[in-house]
C-alpha cells in the first residue's frame, strides 16, 4: 500500500491560512490504514486547526470529509459540491488523491496535507516499511522474494557490497542489509546458487526516470460509443 505521513500541523496551518472556507478531504483506503488521512485523522486535524484558530482569533470554516478512494474520479465526484463550495481543498489522501482533485477541478486550489512516502507494508502495529519502488520490471524471483532495489541502500543487483557486516547495512547500522537477508532467504530455499549468478545492469527504461508512466489495458478501455453511453447515464 501507499504509506504517507501527515505534514506538521504548523506547515498545514500556514498553507491554508489565507483561505476562509477550507474543505479537508481524507481517503478510506491506504492512508486510512496507515493512520495518516482516514476519517479520524481528518477530524483530529480539523479540530486541532480550530483550536489553533481559537487561540489566534482567526476566523476560518472547515468542512471535514472523507471519500472511499480519492484517486478515483467517481468517488471524488460525490463531494464535488463541497470541493467547489470551498476556497481551498486540503487533501488528506496521498498525493494521488490530491492530484486527482487538482486535475478534476483545475481552477480550484488543492494542497497536500500529507507527505506521500513509500510503497510499504505494515510490519507491526504502527510500523510500516518500504518494500518496492515501482521499478516496473520486478526481479524478486531471483532474489529470494526480497527487493534489493528498495531495500538495499545502493540498490545493488549483485550484493552484498563490501560494507555489509553482521547483517547490517553500512549506510545505516539500524537497517538490515538487504543482501544479507537475500542470502538467508535463498539458503533456506536451497537456491543459494543464485547468489553467485552475476546479474547484468538492469533495464531502467521501465522505471520513472523517463517521465510519467502510463499503463494501459486495451480490453478494459471504453470505445467512443461506450463512453458516450456512460456519459449519457451520468
Amino acid at each position: 500500500m501507499i504509506v504517507a505521513k501527515r505534514k506538521p500541523l504548523n506547515e498545514i496551518a500556514e498553507m491554508v491560512a489565507p483561505y476562509k472556507r477550507v474543505s479537508v478531504i481524507g481517503c478510506r483506503s491506504c492512508v486510512a490504514i496507515c493512520l495518516a488521512g482516514g476519517e479520524k485523522e481528518v477530524k483530529m486535524l480539523v479540530s486541532a486547526l480550530k483550536v489553533k484558530n481559537k487561540k489566534e482569533g482567526r476566523d476560518q470554516e472547515f468542512e471535514a470529509l472523507v471519500v472511499e478512494r480519492q484517486c478515483e474520479k467517481e468517488w471524488v465526484k460525490e463531494v464535488e459540491d463541497k470541493v467547489l463550495g470551498s476556497d481551498i481543498t486540503l487533501s488528506m489522501a496521498c498525493s494521488l488523491g490530491a492530484q486527482t482533485i487538482g486535475d478534476m477541478y483545475p481552477s480550484h486550489v488543492t494542497f497536500p496535507g500529507l507527505n506521500t512516502g513509500i510503497f510499504g507494508v505494515p510490519e507491526e502495529q504502527g510500523v510500516w516499511s518500504e518494500k518496492c519502488v515501482g521499478c516496473g520490471n520486478c526481479i524478486i524471483h531471483t532474489t529470494g522474494g526480497i527487493c534489493p532495489i528498495s531495500r538495499c541502500a545502493k540498490s545493488m543487483l549483485n550484493g552484498p557490497c563490501g560494507g555489509s557486516a553482521n547483517r547490517k547495512c553500512e549506510v545505516n547500522l539500524d537497517t538490515d542489509c538487504a543482501w544479507s537477508a537475500i542470502y538467508d532467504r535463498l539458503k533456506i530455499q536451497n537456491r543459494l546458487e543464485l547468489i553467485e549468478k552475476v546479474t547484468p545492469a538492469k533495464d531502467w527504461s521501465t522505471s520513472h526516470a523517463g517521465g510519467r508512466r502510463t499503463y494501459v489495458r486495451e480490453d478494459a478501455k471504453l470505445t467512443p460509443h461506450q463512453k458516450k453511453g456512460k456519459e449519457a447515464i451520468q
Binding site: 500541523l9 496551518a13 483530529m44 486541532a48 486547526l49 483550536v51 489553533k52 481559537k54 487561540k55 482569533g57
Partner: protein, 137 residues
C-alpha cells in the same frame, strides 16, 4: 477575568479513575466541583478526538485519569490512554497551543487523596493559562 470559573474536563475510567473520585468525595476530601467528569469504560476508549473536541468546545484544560499502569482493569487500557494524551500534546505543540493543557494521570481506587490533588493542579493551571484564545467565554 474576575469570577470566571476555569473549565476543566476530566475523562475518568469507570474502574480506578472514577472510584478514586468517588472515594475522595466519600472521605470528605474537598475539590473544585466545577470540574466536569466524563466517565468512560476505560482510558483506552479515550480518543485524541475526544480531548481535542473538549478543547475546541471551550475546555481550558483536559485530564485523563486511568488505573495504575500494570494494574489496569483492562490490562493495557491506561497505557493506551497515555499514548493518546501524548499524541494530542504533540499536536497542540505543532499548532502553538500549550501542551500542558492536557495531562494523563493514573490512580488506584484506594487513593482518596489523589483525585483532589489532580483537580487542584488542573484548576490552577486553567486559571494560570486562561481560556484558549483569551477571555471571550
Amino acid at each position: 477575568m474576575a469570577g470566571r470559573k476555569p473549565k476543566v474536563v476530566g475523562f475518568c475510567c469507570e474502574r480506578h479513575g472514577m472510584d478514586a473520585a468517588v472515594l475522595s468525595a466519600r472521605s470528605g476530601k474537598e475539590f473544585d466541583a466545577s470540574v466536569r467528569l466524563v466517565q468512560v469504560p476505560c482510558t483506552g476508549r479515550v480518543d485524541g478526538m475526544h480531548i481535542l473536541k473538549a478543547l475546541e468546545d471551550g475546555a481550558d484544560c483536559v485530564f485523563v485519569l486511568g488505573c495504575l499502569e500494570k494494574n489496569c482493569y483492562y490490562d493495557t487500557g491506561s497505557i493506551e490512554g497515555r499514548k493518546r494524551v501524548e499524541y494530542v500534546k504533540q499536536m497542540l505543540s505543532e499548532v502553538g497551543v500549550e501542551k500542558e493543557r492536557v495531562e494523563m494521570f493514573n490512580s488506584a481506587s484506594t487513593n482518596a487523596w489523589m483525585f483532589p490533588e489532580i483537580v487542584s493542579k488542573m484548576v490552577a493551571l486553567a486559571k494560570k493559562l486562561g481560556p484558549i484564545g483569551g477571555e471571550k467565554q
